[in-house]
């Protein structure tokens, strides 16, 4: 009976139409991203030199490369630390920004303003701020806190990747916050208010009501952040130590080696990065779905 009032495009043709409208985006993703992935996988298996044949030699070679485990561990350490710290901090910021207090709009704006700044620019900013010849070091020296600027703690080019992690937090806390705030907007205050009126404390309310409700969004945003931090090249290049190198930096070094025979190894490393990112994103999303099911 509602059929008469349906718009001309019914549900089924609406699906076709949606597909048609999505086609440009899907083609771009499929051809550029999927094509790049397939080409990379192919090049990791097939050396470009004449007379070579398909093999897993490149994967065997990187497993035997003494630099590879260190680089993999370093990248995992950076991505996990940066993601976890960002997720915790973003949750706190989102909870605070949901309150009403004077200056909230300004603070919300300030928290999100750096979303538009490119990573490379942010990383160079961190370098100017935190290096041993950077602004903070010079201020500390000028204030008489340090005898020489070089006594400033090693926050960039360091093996603990402090500069890299700080950069990622600076950049990703606003991103996760933004996603959490929009999720909280959708959920509304009712559940939390009901819990509080039934006698739940602040922590109990957060732990048993708010957190399960925002967990899917938090997991999804964290998965994106992890995949980015794990696969990014420019930030560890600009702020990281020479050794251990982050995995993408090592892959680049291998890809520009003068010996053409090493090209498949660089592609193999890129494939490892892609596979691990994809696996962790899938795990995070599945966990989020389960959390949502429970809540």
């Amino acid at each position: 009976m509602a059929a008469k009032t349906d718009p001309p495009a019914g549900p089924s043709s609406g699906g076709g139409r949606a597909l048609f409208l999505l086609a440009p985006a899907l083609i771009v993703i499929g051809v550029l991203f999927g094509g790049g992935l397939v080409a990379g996988a192919w090049q990791s298996l097939a050396p470009l030199l004449p007379g070579a044949r398909l093999s897993l030699d490149a994967y065997r070679a990187i497993l035997g490369d003494p630099g590879f485990p260190g680089a993999l561990g370093f990248s995992l350490y950076i991505a996990l630390t940066a993601t976890m710290l960002s997720a915790v901090m973003a949750t706190a910021v989102a909870l605070l920004l949901r309150q009403t207090f004077p200056g909230r709009r300004l603070i919300s704006f300030l928290v999100q303003v750096n979303l538009t700044i490119p990573h490379a620019v942010g990383a160079i900013g961190i370098l100017y701020l935190l290096s041993q010849s950077g602004t903070l070091s010079r201020l500390a020296h000028g204030a008489g806190l340090l005898d020489r600027p070089a006594q400033f703690p090693e926050l960039v080019y360091d093996r603990h990747a402090i500069g890299i992690i700080l950069h990622y937090m600076w950049k990703e806390v606003p991103f996760i916050t933004l996603i959490l705030l929009s999720q909280m907007q959708t959920i509304g205050q009712d559940y939390a208010a009901a819990a509080r009126s039934l006698g739940a404390g602040r922590w109990q309310c957060f732990r048993h009501v708010t957190l399960p409700l925002i967990a899917p969004a938090l997991a999804a945003a964290s998965a994106i952040v992890f995949a980015f931090c794990f696969g990014a090249y420019e930030v560890p290049l600009l702020l990281g130590p020479n050794s251990p190198a982050a995995l993408p930096v090592l892959a680049y070094r291998v890809s520009v080696d003068a010996d053409l025979a090493t090209r498949p190894q660089a592609m193999a490393m890129a494939m490892v990065i892609a596979a691990l990112s994809a696996a962790l994103v899938l795990i995070a999303l599945r966990a989020a779905r389960r959390a949502m099911g429970r809540a």
Binding site: Q43, Y157, R159, P241, N242, S243, D257, A258, L260
Partner: protein, 408 residues
Amino acid sequence: MSLVSRLALCAATLAATQGWADTPDGAALIGQDWEKIVEAARGGEVNFFLWGGSDTINRYVTEDLGGILLRDYGITLNRVGVTDTAEAVNLVLGETAAGVTDAGSVDLIWINGENFRTMRQGDLVWCGYTETLPNNALVNWNNPSIANDFGVPVDGCEVPWNRAQFAFAHDSATLAEPPRDMAALIDWIKANPGQFTYAAPPDFNGSVFVRHVFYHAAGGADALLGPFDQATFDAVAPKAWAILNDLEPYLWRKGETYPNTITQLNNLFANGEVALTFNYDASQSGAAVDAGQYPATVRSYGLTDGTIGNTNYTVIPANSPNKAAAMVLQNLTLSGDAQLRKADPAVWGAAPVIELDRLTPDLQSAFAALPAHPSVVQPAELGAAALPELQAEWISAIEKGWAENVGR
């Protein structure tokens, strides 16, 4: 429907505009009348890939060379900056492997040494055309350091562009007397902990610094010249790694890490974190002073036991679709006027690669009258103690050995 037709129209327009100055067929150009080549190139474009880390060089290429190309030949020069020349080589390699043999995206690469060897190894270079360039007459191909690129014969596959020689730099205001030979440098590093470091190979400049240490360990370059020899390498390498590992505790950050790029090292020097820096192009310290990055009291200098020098070139990939335009650009880079402009310290300050006595008297006196930059060591003084480059296999082995034994 309309989308499809619009796409088809786009493709057709693209093909048409790309098509009319296409000259992928190299064989038809070799030995051809130069006027005809210029006509074939007219109105086209040339994609020039080169290391993009120097503002002065970028400006010279875009404004000087690009300006003349557009004005005199109607050719558009697209300068594409890369961090590492191997990126351009990889592009050509990838395209060729994908079957793109006459419509590649790279028409000219600034290149030498191991990247040139890589391109020849992969058969990615267009060869045999250099005699066709009129300004080839200005090049002295009897000079072995021009006819050989890091020990590999050029064989008409590249056109020389510059001479370069490695030089250190110090700030005369804070370090009046820098160490002037390799042994003195090693002692100085130990006496001044934290004041020295070098960019980690495979950075081009860091790699050549490590080669200086290698020469020092070998007691000179002579034993290392010629094709790669595993026995010699095995005899020299442990000594070189011992010297470098010995130095580590006295380096910046106690050698726990090294700058990843020469740009990082130069920034450490500019900020006073280290007292010495270096560059394969001595004129770069002058450019950094003019840019306000280094204080005016910075001076570049050579070593009494010599620094390594090379010739660098431009190369046309075999799959370049704009070979005629690339040839016109190469011919332009060799002209007396372009080499003179490039030699001006205010423009770039790169040493000429052509024989000056083959130029007109006017140009010769213009070269003689070029001002000297106070921060840049005189090419003649630097050239008095010049060391040859090694063949590419040596360089690969040294870079690999450094990563395994020193830079772990």
